[in-house]
Amino acid sequence: MKITIERGALLKSLNHVQSVVERRNTIPILSNVLMRAGQGQLSLTATDLDIEVVEATTADIGQEGGTTASAHTLYDIVRKLPDGAQVEITDGEDGKLTLQAGRSRFALQALPQEDFPAMSAGDLPHRFEMPAEALGRLIDKTRFAISTEETRYYLNGIYLHMVEDGAPMLRAVATDGHRLAQADFPLPDGAAGMPGVIVPRKTVLELQKLVEEEEGIVRIGVSDTKIRFEFGGVVLTSKLIDGTFPDYTRVIPEGNDKDMEVDGKKFAEAVDRVSTISTERSRAVKLNMEEGRLILTVTNPDSGSATEELGVAYSSDALEIGFNARYLLDIAGQLDGDKAVFSLADSGSPTVIRDVDDESALYVLMPMRV
């Protein structure tokens, strides 16, 4: 194999694939990136056996072939090369890979491409397309609520499924038991009949990085065990979490009758300000609601207290409720409309939060005892 490629193009592709590679690996080849040269393209593949990312980019192919070398080392080298450098990569007979750019020359230990594990996606019977931006939004709105609790592994991802009460929707849901986030997108053609799948956290994070830069369409293929996203020159294939997502609809309260309307942006800023003095030790933000106003309070026995008053539309009985500051901030950060509405029942029951003008996303937050 012998290729020449511009440093910027190589860096971008390496950046996309290298983050899948785990820092510590017991199987040496999993630290490597697979490079294959052919038909005017360099294709890079990285995997952790659960996720595989393949990215193809145009390169000047001197000689076709393939090899593998340490993904993080390659990335670090290319990162440090000067902008605009032409990078020449050759695999030698001696099991070494040579990388040359300007006056720099690196010889890296290589492993044969035949040893690189291939991930077969199998048959992906459900195929549909959606704008990358819309997929990004589904992820952005729900990602923060993904659980990291290993005992409830089925919560360690975003539950992607279709709902059909009313207009058919593709829905993303994530919850850790303390908060729940839900976002909808009109069901794309071809998605009808797809199984509900749990996309693992790491896949979600990789995908989010990749679709951020993408403006076009994402092609999605789903089976019971795998999901594949294709866009630009990237193909990301991932295993799904083998488990049953709990019936989250039971968790979303319907009878909450105390509504408070507040400017979402102002609310987010106020929460951010008062929670400055909350620490690991005390995380509760207290919300006191009365006719027309909301008072936010944080009391930290170590460092002091903070209050802020906001004008709100509220006309029910006065209510005091406490929330975990970080959870409230996470949700407040998602409220981008002018008006957000909090639907409350009492100080011990879950609260529903949503943008007034945006029916496609909602959040449920469990209160803290204060």
Partner: protein
Amino acid sequence: MARPTHGYCRDCLEPVPKDKNRCPACRRPRVLHHPELHELSIAHLDCDAFYAAVEKRDNPDLKDKPVIIGGGKRGVVSTACYIARIRGVGSAMPMFKALKACPDAVVVKPNMEKYAKAGGEVRALMRELTPLVEPLSIDEAFMDLSGTERLHHAPPALTMLRLVNRIEEEIGITVSVGLSFNKFLAKVASDLNKPRGFSIIGEEEAMDFLGDKPVSIIWGVGKAFNAKLKKDGITLVRHLRQYEESALMARYGSMGRRLWQLSNCQDSRRIKPHGAAKSISAETTFFDDISDVEELKRKLWPLCERVAKRAKKAEIAGKTVTLKLKTASFKSRTRSQTLPNPTLLADVLYETALPLLEPEADGTPFRLMGIGMSSLTDADLADPADLLNPGATRRADAERAMDSVRAKFGEDAIKKGRGLKR
């Protein structure tokens, strides 16, 4: 500036000239002299037969009788007073043996609350003198009095003498003190002339003093290690000094370094005042060994309640639950589980410990079971309500309701069925 050379009277604390063995002021003979008396500042304070001393203080009838603290059918002696010790009763001795050696002994069941209170009072007096107090247990602690001369207008030795007298007067128990230039030797010193001792090991004499002592004097050398050293021809501390540090490390690993350092009177460990507790636990030794899982479960619940009660009182929650079992043949088994959220509820402790207990209860008879929680954090973060597990939330609410009933009507006002005997 030349250091003063006088000593002190241990009773009236007056200075005593270097060559006098009797206090010129009060004529009593308990006089403390040492060439380095005015320089040493690391102290170890150990209460004398602590539990027994507290019992004698509270019940003067016991004063001249041999007293043993301990009890239960398979109880062991936890403390014997000095009268009982003279008759051959020792700590950790099985009770039947102790009573054979000293049939007229008065056996008192331990009252930990009382001892904890007295121990806390002793510690409070220590902390008045220096913040550098490192407790080793309820009744002993290291103190670093370096740099306190100006504060107390007295050298550390005199400060300690004052403390000893104050503890005797105000708390009514006696203590022994060791004063030296490092922790190891201070602890060795406090053991030298118990009870009511005050011993000093200075830098001048330390090497000679330690050389002829058995190696078991070194902290960390227990029965098994002692036997190993004996096999290698090492029985006295000075035998260790023939070897280089590297040779001892090559043979005994990290313990080798300790052997070399301590045998050469080097101990650079600093006195660290303890922070908050690192774990909360409760355990019980069964009357008879238990192998039945249902029986073990029944015994587990009150332990969980005890730990939870202490956690709630201290407003501390734990994230890691550890189950400890000891088999009839004294083998320990510990199993632990880390929770997604810290807890201070007995119910969560119980529900977490059950799956740890069940696989262990394979018919093995157990003599002891304990439950503990660690990775402690503030109670604020404990037991957040769970959207997906309303059952747990309900049980948590029930426990909180029970706690408020207890706070109002007493501990036994309300109980969970699983804690009751069949």
